[in-house]
């Protein structure tokens, strides 16, 4: 067969499928709605996780370490240590907090001013305030940084609050898995919906299929319009899902912005990225096609022309 004829036959099948979908707008819309919702749900969950991670992305950079030096270590030595620490990869910033400054701050903020006056000498050590660099905020990185400082003989205690980072990352991991499970289940749902819709259409067009086979239509020829129908269902469902996501982002954005402002952030909700949309459309079309193929494979075989 010449390529142009091949292309023509596919175009015919595609247009035929489109026309049929258009002829039953209500049924088509309902099917698209079910597929759209099934696709939108995991996509929305994924979007939530991504947003949560981006919104709190600043947190891991806000994670800082307080490296308490032993009380005998002089300020000059502390400056020297800080300079060394700045050379280490994964360290963004090292600030020396001299003991005096620490005491002054403590006096100001703690309300123990009078009690502190009673002390003979400053009980506070010099402290290095360490900020890990962006991208070195994972718990493993932080642990490695902590060991690095703890190994110094001049260091007394390294204080690091990684617990919440670990917890937060664990929550995100759970949510990510939930997204996958939801995607798998609802993907199977899309397969079933498309498969069943195609099955009904095959039964409806039984006479036509019989005649087509009678005049020499191959199984591939008979199957083609149904595969295109499935593909179109997937495409339409994905478009609907994308619209649902965009609409949800639009509705939520003002409240999220307000919430972020209350936390002193300029964060605004992020809509689905090009990658997410690509997965949505690609996945939707693949599922629609596959559902149609399974159904057509099962049901078209049984339809043979009878005289």
């Amino acid at each position: 067969m010449r390529p142009s004829i091949f292309g023509t036959r596919h175009a015919q099948a595609l247009l035929g499928s489109l026309g049929r979908l258009k002829r039953n707008p209500l049924a088509t819309l309902l099917t698209l709605l079910v597929i759209g919702l099934a696709l939108a749900l995991p996509a929305a969950l994924g979007l939530f996780v991504t947003n949560a991670q981006t919104a709190t992305g600043g947190f891991s950079n806000a994670v800082d370490m307080s490296v308490y030096l032993k009380s005998g270590v002089t300020l000059a030595k502390a400056q020297q240590l800080a300079a060394a620490a700045r050379q280490r990869p994964g360290v963004a910033q090292v600030t020396v907090i001299p003991a005096e400054q620490g005491l002054a701050e403590f006096r100001r903020y703690s309300g123990f001013g009078a009690a502190l006056d009673a002390l003979q000498s400053n009980p506070l050590p010099n402290v290095l305030h360490v900020v890990p660099s962006r991208g070195a905020g994972s718990s493993a990185d932080l642990d490695s940084l902590r060991s690095y400082f703890a190994a110094w003989p001049e260091v007394d205690v390294v204080q690091l609050d990684t617990e919440w980072v670990l917890r937060f990352n664990a929550i995100i991991a759970v949510l990510r898995q939930l997204v996958l499970i939801a995607a798998a289940l609802l993907g199977a749902g899309v397969l079933a919906v498309v498969g069943n819709t195609i099955r009904l259409e095959i039964l409806n067009r039984r006479a036509e299929i019989e005649v087509t086979k009678l005049v020499g239509g191959s199984n591939a020829f008979v199957r083609r319009p149904f595969l295109y129908t499935g593909l179109l269902y997937g495409l339409g469902g994905a478009a609907l899902a994308a619209a649902i996501l965009e609409a949800a982002v639009l509705v939520l954005d003002p409240s999220v912005t307000t919430l972020a402002q209350l936390y002193g952030s300029r964060y605004t909700l992020q809509g689905p990225s090009g990658q997410v949309l690509g997965v949505l459309f690609g996945g939707g079309m693949a599922l629609g096609w596959l559902g149609a193929w399974i159904s057509a494979h099962r049901h078209l075989r049984s339809i043979e022309p009878r005289a």
Binding site: R2, I5, V211, K213, V215, G216, S218, N219, A307
Partner: protein, 237 residues
Amino acid sequence: MIRFERVSKRYPNGREALTQVSFGIESGEMVFLTGRSGAGKSTVLKLVALLERPTRGTVTVNGKSTGTLKARHIPAFRRQIGVVFQDHKLLADRPVFDNVALPLVVAGTALKEIDKRVRAALDQVGLLGKEGMLPVELSVGEQQRVGIARAVVSKPPLIIADEPTGNLDPDLALEVMHLFRRFSDVGVTVLVATHDQHIVRDLAKREIVLASGEIQEPGDGAGSGGTDPLPHLVARR
């Protein structure tokens, strides 16, 4: 073109429709297949069109043995045969043009060629100008002729017809049969199953008579030698 060798056909329900049937039809020949309802006419046509496979014996059509033809070769096999039905099996929701074009579309013919051939086929059956009409807008005779146009549009070497005049009045029936004869005149093999003795006599073509799934030789008495006006009544006696 068609060769049946000791062909028997038993359906899954146990009914034996054909028993040890043998006959041959040469290329370009026009043959009538006659006999009472249930004599096995339809089964013979189904075996030719590969809607059924023989239980025993061999059916050879256009050089291919239908008993062993692989499923994936059936579409190509069927494209060599034009089939006409009593109920014409037209697609009710498609215009005449689409119905006639179907065998060409299925075979992957180029669009321009389809247009030309569909018009030629409709011209042959006298329906040129009705391409855009739906089958229901046509008379029964016209619908039957659309079915015939569909059967001949791809210029198959073999046309089979199952009671093509069953729903037509005698004049229309004769007209349709003459149409078949014209195809036969240009070298197409035509096999027509009918119980209409007037037509068989009028066209004076070879006749294969079936009775209870077996071939009746002319002169058996029970069949229709062409002289008996009501052969089925004779057979019942």
